[in-house]
Symmetry: C2
Subunit: 987 residues, 2 copies
């Protein structure tokens, strides 16, 4: 290889030549480019305005009327204090003041809509062909990208496949008639077909899941083979686009595996993108080198920088995962140059394509190619349609092949594409925006990356707020092979331990417990998870007396000591994370991610409550007056009863048990009889962590044990999560002060929900369908937070229901130890029966749009969607606790809100909307404990989304929130007069 330093003069020469050729005139107000430039200028002025502007562009195509457009315009910009100068200036040229003005609005709307078209060649392949032909004639070939909505169902995946096939045919047929352009049709490996399609694997399979590479391969491959067959036959080129990092390994796996199949092994027109903003781009390329050598047919590598930088940062930070992209733009540029070198070093394996608008990156690639003696047709440059036209022309003029990545499709996905391009063009770090800024000198534009970059800064500002430094335990990233392996091994290991009988300490006065509890696998009811002795009501008394004795010691321990036990349990859970998840998968039928999330949440509860208790454990001084010291302290109540459910069989009991313990109470813990083994694990972990014997009592048993515990006069606090009926009973029972009782028992009860999501007419349907689907089918709908009502505005009702029903029917259902199953069984026969009963009612009350009955062993039930439900229907009022959703149709947003709140429950709720006013309105008025905007309504995180409801959904403060622990304690204020003999210490 040539040394980079020797290359530099050549880069500068090439760059200056290309820059000279790139110059174009200023757009005038009548051209679309003037509008685009204007929009980008606005976007670059002010970050807040840019957000509003691009969000407005995003929602634009769903606005069906001018009235709607005018309303949304006001919603987005009505509150903008200062309009940017160009906008003001342009307003003077509009017929009248445009905000609120109908004529102005229409003009503006048309301009916004047209804008999308400057980045798209047409709404269909047929309409796009003339544009592609024009490109060809101007010396540029293309690769077509069929824009579409997100694929949420197999129907949609089929449709995308068919679109691809159609597109290839149309493309090939039309392109036949184009004149010869040797540079565009041939390289050192031979023919370059005129038809070239870029595809996204996420569009080919609705159940794509990196946690399930095998299933995902089969799903994608089934759709891909006809496309590859056609491409081989025509011929045509197929390039795999790269999407989010989470799909990267999977995409490469599928690419390699399918192209290794005999039918496609010699297909030389396949390509794949490589993103240099990824830290591991280098390793990925090495892997491709090995594979192509083995396969022995070249592939195209489309070297790009990557288009998901913001999303990768946001999503990975949200999840607590390592951010896979380079944080600084110059790092990506440098990486691009480095990979360029590696790519050009393998001319026999690759057909290199450099996808960049960065003059420096392009000049560098060109200089390197020339230095290595490549012929001009051995490589190509790729550019985006409608962008950097000057540069495209310059490269053509320079005698190199330019391929234009050309989107074709409808307006809605087109606007989404537009937003991505606008973002790219207005980013402060963007090369394009620098180029547009005519004041940037050519030296700066052509400077080697890093020369303009003095130091790598960590953009995360350290926070001083002690609460803010709590970090959630990250969920496992099952797109990583080692994580999948670990989970598989844990499942294997736990499988070998099923069916045993476990024992636990009981007060010696009891002797031994006579009753037995048997836990079974809801997938295979004959499979025994574990057996264990259990309590009868008459055996409760000695346990309570024992706990009471031990409490006298326990309450004197310090908050820090108690918090330490929690942290130790958290550490143990972390070490046995997959094992615990495996037990949960077998005992309660949870899919991988749900089980994994439950263990993570348990760890979160432990660490969050430990942290909170350390804070609450410090007496808080009140007042600053001299001569007196007032301190507020928190003290334990006494004996706590914890009655936990089976649906978050580790997290919920961990939260309740740990908070009762860390606040200094002795705890009597009754796990659900449907998940006793998970309860046992929790108990064992506390023992292992060294918690003094007897401070926590494990009390497996049936509902009668819960009743006995709750009724006991020596209980100070009851923490319950479960059904409304049981919760209300406990609340009432607790309020009775029995003879000889010296306190009022405090009851904390988290009960049910009948949670609704509103879909308004500005919703992003891709997100709404997926969000509702997950919210009502996640863990088979067996979450109190699950969505069981969706309220859809009339105008989008049909579209939404159709997509939702197709998406739901695409879900894979089966034993959850297999990661290809996104839904497992119901917890038991009773739960399944309840769903079946409500399906019966549904047939009377509304229209059952989907009822996926499963004819197999185990308590399986597929999604149920019931249309035409009215608010007073039982389907809209009663908690079913299964994958059943009632669809309500709303005339207006107000109507939707009213229906949403027609419920005794107030737990979770949500809205999908892009109307700032509707979002704000719902934010203020949708009366639930946890309200979610444009996201699923389950999966609240400790600390970030403290969880709990009111009305009949619960009493008590939110779990995983700052106030939760306080419920297990009483407040005590100590006031000391520190003045003696007329003097007091300074405080």
């Amino acid at each position: 290889m040539i040394s980079e330093e020797l290359l530099e003069p050549s880069i500068q020469n090439i760059g200056r030549t290309l820059a000279e050729h790139s110059k174009t005139g200023t757009a005038n107000i009548l051209s679309q480019r003037w509008w685009n430039d204007l929009l980008m200028d606005w976007g670059m002025r002010d970050e807040d305005f840019k957000v509003q502007l691009f969000r407005f562009v995003d929602v634009l195509p769903t606005l069906k009327t001018d009235e709607q457009f005018t309303r949304l315009l006001a919603e987005y910009f009505g509150g903008t204090p200062i309009l940017p100068q160009p906008l003001k200036w342009s307003l003077q040229r509009l017929p009248s003041s445009w905000v609120g003005s109908h004529v102005g609005a229409i003009v503006l709307r048309r301009q916004f809509m047209r804008m999308a078209h400057t980045f798209m060649a047409g709404d269909s392949m047929a309409n796009a062909m003339p544009v592609l032909g024009k490109l060809w004639r101007s010396g540029r070939c293309a690769s077509v990208d069929l824009l579409g909505e997100a694929t949420v169902s197999e129907a949609e995946a089929d449709s995308y496949r068919d679109h691809c096939l159609d597109a290839l045919r149309v493309y090939h047929e039309h392109a036949q008639r184009w004149p010869n352009r040797p540079l565009l049709e041939q390289d050192h490996h031979g023919l370059l077909p005129r038809a070239n399609l870029s595809i996204k694997i996420s569009a080919l399979y609705s159940q794509l899941d990196p946690a399930d590479p095998e299933g995902s391969f089969h799903g994608v491959a089934a759709k891909l083979r006809p496309i590859l067959d056609l491409a081989s036959q025509l011929p045509a080129s197929i390039t795999f686009d790269m999407e989010q990092f989470e799909l990267k390994d999977l995409t490469y796996e599928i690419f390699m595996r399918i192209l290794s199949e005999p039918a496609y092994r010699t297909y030389a027109c396949a390509g794949i993108a490589l993103q240099t903003y990824l830290r591991d781009a280098d390793i990925t390329l090495d892997r491709m080198v090995d594979w192509v050598q083995q396969r022995d047919t070249p592939i195209t590598i489309r070297l790009v920088k990557g288009a998901y930088w913001d999303a990768e940062n946001i999503q990975n930070e949200q999840r607590g995962w390592p951010v896979p992209v380079l944080r600084q733009k110059p790092e990506t540029d440098a990486n691009f140059e480095y990979i360029t070198g590696k790519l050009l070093a393998q001319p026999t394996l690759f057909r290199p394509a450099f996808g960049t608008h960065n003059l420096r990156s392009l000049a560098h690639a060109e200089a390197l190619a020339q230095a290595n003696g490549f012929a001009p047709d051995n490589y190509e440059y790729q550019s985006l349609y409608g962008m950097a036209d000057g540069l495209q022309h310059a490269v053509v003029k320079y005698g190199r092949r330019v391929r234009v990545y050309t989107p074709v499709g409808e307006l809605i996905p087109g606007m989404a594409y537009l937003v991505r391009r606008l973002l790219e063009n207005t980013s402060n770090e963007s090369f394009i925006s620098k180029q547009r800024d005519h004041e940037t000198p050519i030296e700066v534009l052509l400077a080697p990356p890093y020369a303009s970059h003095n130091s790598i800064q960590d953009e995360r500002v350290p926070t001083t707020d002690i609460h803010q430094s709590f970090k959630n335990e990250a969920h496992t990233d099952f797109s990583r092979e080692p994580a999948r392996q670990a989970m598989m091994q844990a499942l294997e290991q736990v499988k070998g331990q099923l069916g045993q009988t476990v024992h636990f300490p009981i007060p010696s006065s009891i002797g031994r417990l006579k009753d037995e509890l048997v836990s079974t696998n809801p997938c295979r009811p004959h499979e025994i998870i574990a057996r264990m002795p259990c309590y009868a009501p008459a055996e409760i008394e000695p346990v309570i007396q024992s706990a009471h004795e031990i409490w006298k010691q326990w309450r004197t321990t310090t908050a820090d000591t108690r918090a330490d036990y929690l942290c130790r349990v958290a550490e143990l859970m972390r070490n046995r994370r997959h094992e615990l998840a495996a037990w949960e998968i077998f005992e309660t039928g949870k899919p991988w991610r749900e089980a994994d999330g439950d263990i993570a949440e348990a760890i979160d509860f432990l660490e969050f409550y430990a942290r909170e208790m350390r804070l609450l454990g410090r007496p808080q001084r009140l007042g600053q007056e001299p001569g007196e010291l007032n301190h507020l302290e928190w003290r334990p109540r006494g004996l706590a009863v914890v009655i936990s459910p089976w649906n978050f069989s580790l997290a919920i009991p961990t939260g309740m048990v740990s908070s009762a313990l860390v606040t200094g109470n002795a705890v009597l813990f009754k796990p659900s009889e449907r998940s006793p083994m998970m309860g046992y694990h929790l108990y064992q972990l506390f023992r292992e962590a060294g918690l003094p014997e007897g401070v926590l009592h494990f009390i497996p048993g049936g509902p009668e044990i819960g009743k006995a515990l709750v009724a006991h006069p020596q209980i100070h606090v009851i923490a319950f999560t479960g059904s409304k009926e049981a919760g209300l009973h406990i609340i009432q029972q607790a309020s009775k002060v029995q003879p000889g009782q010296h306190h009022v028992t405090h009851a904390i009860a988290e009960m049910g929900g009948k949670n609704a999501i509103i879909i308004d007419d500005t919703a992003d349907l891709d997100e709404a369908v997926q969000g509702v689907l997950y919210s009502f089918t996640g863990y088979q709908g067996q979450k109190c937070s699950a969505c069981s009502r969706v309220i859809v505005l009339d105008s989008i009702h049909e579209d939404f229901i159709e997509r939702l029903t197709q998406a739901a029917s695409s879900l894979h259902i089966g034993p959850p130890e297999d990661p290809s199953h996104h839904m497992g069984p119901m917890i038991d026969e009773r739960a399944l029966q309840k769903v079946r009963e409500y399906v019966g009612i549904a047939h009377q009350e509304g229209k059952v749009l989907l009822d996926q009955v499963m004819e197999r062993e185990g308590w399986f039930q597929g999604p149920v969607i019931v249309g035409e439900i009215k608010p007073h229907h039982r389907l809209a009022q009663e908690e079913i606790f299964g994958p059943v959703i009632a669809v309500l149709r709303a005339d207006s947003f107000e109507h939707a809100l009213t229906m949403a709140m027609q419920s005794d429950f107030a737990l979770t709720g949500g809205i999908y909307s892009r109307s700032p006013t509707n979002i704000q309105h719902a934010r203020e008025s949708f009366d639930v404990g946890n309200f979610y905007i444009n996201r699923p309504i389950t999966g609240s995180l400790v600390g970030r989304q403290p969880f709990g409801g009111h009305r009949l959904s619960g009493v008590g403060t939110k779990a995983g929130g700052e106030r939760y622990l306080e419920q297990f304690m009483v407040q005590r204020v100590t006031s000391e007069n520190t003045m003696r003999r007329g003097f007091a210490p300074t405080q």
Copy 2:
């Protein structure tokens, strides 16, 4: 007058001469002075150590055994990390390691005890006379101060009077035999008697109260006349000492009034102290000039700087009153020089005495006297016994009269006196400590005040904690004449308004209320306070429906708007403070200060809750992750019922009503039928403040109205303060979810107490007796926080009981509009009957030591003290709600603690102790809501001492605390996914 500048050379000369004469040798280890010096050295090293040391000195005389001494020594110094160097050095000279060593302890104890004697002339007048004679022979006369414990009863006041009479006789008799010393016996006004006594008016009358100057005058005068009679006859001099500022005006008033009586008008040997640390010393002197001119007999003015500087700062800051003393030491010195000048300007009126150890102040006075041509016997210098011996000698040598202020008395008050002197000698600003520090050059010691003082700093550090800047509304300072006048006027004015019928809005559907409520004066049951219509249970429904309708609007108001209403009501209350207090005095029989405190507390609640709501009204962001915005908000529950008691007839309903309103609930307010007029005032104030009509409903009525409100299914939250029985009923009622009810009613109940104070054997009995007395008789014991049990350690049981009984029987009882009455009536006949019943039970269970039955109109009952009570007795278990205290005897501190907690209640509790270990033990173990150390257990302040108990004393968080408002709301978390199209605004 001579100009100060011309005087300066003379001051310097005199000062240097005196300094030269003052020099004394270094003390050796065998002398007591060596020990004193050592102790002062220690005290000056480290502030924390000094506090421990002086506190230890304070408690010393109560330690009866060496074991006790050794134990306390370890408690005070066991945890001291570094012993000061001189202490270590001295330890090497002791027989063995003294800490924990018995021999060492005995030596040390003796030394500490002896130390007090270096500042006292003897434990009795007879023993002091030889010392006084020795002083006389060395050229110094004296003024004797009879040290004694605080006067808490009339028996003690009588005893002090008798001591004074005895002392004068003994003094006079012995002094007859002394040789002639013309300088000491004569000045320009004539004879100076050899016998000279300093007296404190607070010791002469146990019910001294600046709010009641008339009663105080008569109380003091009755004791003072025999003393003045004897002094005139012997003759002897009497000087009034000055104590706290609060008593200053009263002391001067009494001084002038009694000495204006014909019998004493020509008595020329009276004197009074004037404190130059007071900002108003100048004005006070002017007043004396006028008065003496009028009286036409000279008086002695003892000019001092003032000995209560720390206490004045602490107590006035605690109360939120202006601090009356100059904040900077040099200001006081300058003021001393200024007043010196004014004093010397009136030789015909005054016999000036300069009480100072400050060389500069003394030299200045001397220079000025000389410059004004005073003869040496025309003025004198005063010094403290045992201090500044060198200076005393120097002044004698200089040929001036020195009078030594000489304490005579027992060890316990002697130690208290010692601590004051130690403090004075070790203060960083003290002249004495500067003089002791031999490195301070004479120029500095003699510099004019302010020369060494560069800037006046405000010692209050500004705080950044928003909670800390809440300031309690100051109670009225009734030692101020204008405040007394205002209160008198308000009483007059309200008296004129009694007996009227008031009206208030009711829902139109009711028409008019048929029933009537009549409020009467508990002092004069025939006197009608007010009449008003009241509700019957059947009339509740329309009110609830009306409130429900209005709530829909009210809940949408902002937190700030709602908080503004509270602040407006606070402002109205502030403006009508005395008027409201007057109504409360008439309607509920509260003494002045109790009524005034109640209005102040009401204002506090309003402002505190307004402030808290402004904070809670701001959504709290949770988590910092990009792409999501989580906010925690607080929302109103709905309809709130407030059922308030009569014993804090403005503060408690204000607290409950304002918190329910400010949190956005509509409120149904039922005041106690025993104080409906105060409830009406509160309601009217909210109307005046502009609260929208109907948001607050005033619902006077009997208990059946409370029951109807509580049982209604549309009530969301009930705030109740009252009896345990009613509270438990409400809690149980609230827990029932009735058919058609969509929520669980939340109940907040503050109930009763059976509050105990422990008096351990290290207690300061002066404080303990007064603290217990106030805690059980304040507002006739009709506070839930009132003390109703006192648990006294065996060894001090008799002393304590005797003093408490005498103190209690000294209290003045009668209609509380007269400020001389410290106890008013019981609220009604039922309350009085209850006390009488328990007195009957007391006679069976224990020994009734005091039962002050009042034979007069009204529901009066004096204090009841019952000894020999055991923990199981009804007197120790049941809430009586009257001025009845059960005395329990404890074998040990542990025993005391155990008995203290043998109660179903856990509201307030207290301890009087000077044992750090016992204080700490009780702080940790005494399980009550509000625990008080070395102070009364009533009178908690909003913000500083949030109030409330647990067990059967209450459910809910503390009133006046940060968590209180949250009970009236539910938590809501909103989670917005802010990422759209792969980008999100930075947050």
